[in-house]
Symmetry: C2
Subunit: 265 residues, 2 copies
C-alpha cells in the first residue's frame, strides 16, 4: 500500500470484536489501485466507548469516514448529524462520511450492495415481482433498495406478520408506485425470491420460505455468505431455479462505501 | 508496509498542523523491518479537540500509543494517567503508551534522544563538565537526561537567569551527585557545550552563547536541525571544535519512541 505521511487522509472501521474483519484489506487495496492518499485502520471500540469515539472523530480534521459493523450499527444512528433516507428508515448505519465541517452523515449500504450484486450478474429489477423473506435490519435495507430500483410488486413474508406489516406501512409511504403485499411462506408467482433472514447460517436452521412453491422460471437470491450454498439455494437449484449467492452483496458494498466516503476513482 | 488487518495494532501521531510530519514514515518503516503488526497514522487534532481525542484513544482496545507534537506537548500532560520522572519535571510529553487496561503513560524523549545521539557518535558523558544554553522545554529535558547519564558538572546559562536558577533547583533535588551551576554566556572550561535554545533557526538570531570562549578541546552540540550548520556550529568549527549536528537527537527518538510504545524488535 501507499506510504502513510502527514498528508494521508484517515478512515476507520469500528467494531467489537475486530480481529475477523476484512474491510480494511479491501478498502486499502482499492485506495492503492486508485492512487488515493488514504488509509483505513481498525478501531476496536466497545459499546461503552462508542459515543466518545464518534465525537473525537468528528473533531479530527483529516478524518474522512467510518465503516461501522457489529455491534454498533444501530447504536451509532443517534450519534450521526444526518442520515440518508435508507438509514433513517432502517434505523441502522454501516458507513459514515465526515464532511469538512465535521458533520457525520450516516448511510446503510446493505440494500444498495445487494441490488448492485444482482445488477453485476445481469439480474434486472425494474417492473419485476419480488418475494422477500425477513423483516429485520437487512430485510428493511434490501426492501428499500428494491423499491428504489423500481420493482413493481414486493411481497414480504415474516414469521411474525406484524413486523412485516409495519415494514410495509413505512415503505408504502415512501414508494407509492410499488405494490407492497404481506405474503405467506409460498413464493410462487414472483420473478425473484430473496432470503434476507439469517436462516441458513446454521445447519439446523429451518428454511426461510416454502421451497415447494419454487419453479424453474424463478431466481433465488441469498444474503448469507457462509455457507455459500445454503439449504435454500441447494433446494432452489434442485428445482431448476437460477441461484444468486450472498457474496456479491458485500463485495459491491466495498465500492459503494468508498464512493460514499469520497475515496475517488 | 505490512497489510492492515483486524489484528493490526493502531498507533497515531497527533499534531496541528500535520502535513509536514515525518514520524509516521519512520515508525511504519521500523515496524515493517521488525515484522511488527502495527500501523501509525496521522491524526490532525486542533487544541480544542485534544481532550476528547485522548479520552477516545484510552477506550480503543487495539490502540497502542501516541506520538505527540506541536502544539499539544504541554496541554496533553494533565490528560495522561501517569508520567515518567522526566515528563513530570519538564512538564511536557512527546510520546504516550496505552497500557492494556487503558492507562495512558506519558514520557518526553527529547533528552534521551539527544544523549543517544551523542552516544552513537562516540561522545561519552560520565564524569564530564557540560555547558547548556537554554531553560525552556527542550533544555529541561536535555538537562535531565545529561544528569541521568552521569555528567559531573552541569552549567546552565539563560538570558533570563531566574529561569535557569529555577531549573537548577528542580534538578538538584533529583540528582544530588551532579554539580549544577548558574553560568554566564562564556562556555570556557567545559568538555561539551550544548545549545538547547531555538537561536540559530532564523538567520537573524543572536548566537546562543559567547563563541569567543570556545577552544579546540571542546565539543559543540546543537538541537536545531534546520539549518544543519547553524551559526554556532560554523563558529565552533572555525575555532577548531568538534561539532555535533541536531539531526541525531530526532533520529534516535524514533527508536526510543518505538521501544516506549512496545513496538518490539
Amino acid at each position: 500500500m501507499n506510504e502513510i505521511t502527514g498528508k494521508t487522509k484517515l478512515f476507520a472501521l469500528i467494531a467489537d470484536p475486530i480481529q475477523q474483519v476484512k474491510t480494511p484489506q479491501a478498502i486499502n487495496r482499492l485506495m492503492t489501485q486508485r492512487g488515493f492518499d488514504g488509509v483505513l485502520v481498525p478501531m476496536h471500540v466497545p459499546a461503552s466507548a462508542l459515543a466518545g469515539c464518534v465525537a473525537a472523530l468528528r473533531g479530527m480534521l483529516n478524518f474522512g469516514g467510518l465503516v461501522v459493523t457489529v455491534p454498533h450499527k444501530m447504536a451509532i444512528v443517534p450519534l450521526c448529524d444526518e442520515l440518508t433516507e435508507a438509514a433513517a428508515l432502517v434505523g441502522a448505519v454501516n458507513v459514515i462520511r465526515r464532511e469538512p465541517d465535521g458533520r457525520m452523515i450516516g448511510d446503510i449500504l446493505d440494500g444498495k450492495g445487494f441490488v448492485s450484486g444482482l445488477d453485476k450478474h445481469g439480474i434486472t429489477l425494474a417492473g419485476k415481482n419480488v418475494f422477500l423473506s425477513g423483516a429485520g435490519g437487512a430485510a428493511n435495507a434490501i426492501a428499500f433498495a428494491l423499491a428504489q430500483a423500481g420493482v413493481q410488486q414486493l411481497t414480504i413474508y415474516n414469521r411474525t406478520p406484524a413486523k412485516a406489516q409495519a415494514m410495509i406501512s413505512r415503505l408504502a409511504g415512501i414508494f407509492p408506485n410499488v405494490a407492497f403485499k404481506l405474503g405467506s411462506a409460498n413464493p410462487a408467482g414472483n420473478h425473484l425470491v430473496v432470503n434476507a433472514t439469517s436462516l441458513g447460517m446454521a445447519a439446523t436452521d429451518a428454511l426461510p420460505l416454502n421451497v415447494e412453491g419454487l419453479s424453474p422460471d424463478q431466481i433465488v437470491a441469498e444474503i448469507i455468505m457462509s455457507p455459500a450454498l445454503t439449504p435454500l439455494l441447494a433446494a432452489a437449484q434442485a428445482r431448476g431455479c437460477r441461484i444468486h449467492y450472498g457474496a456479491p452483496m458485500l463485495e459491491c458494498q466495498i465500492e459503494l462505501m468508498a464512493a460514499f466516503m469520497g475515496i475517488g476513482k
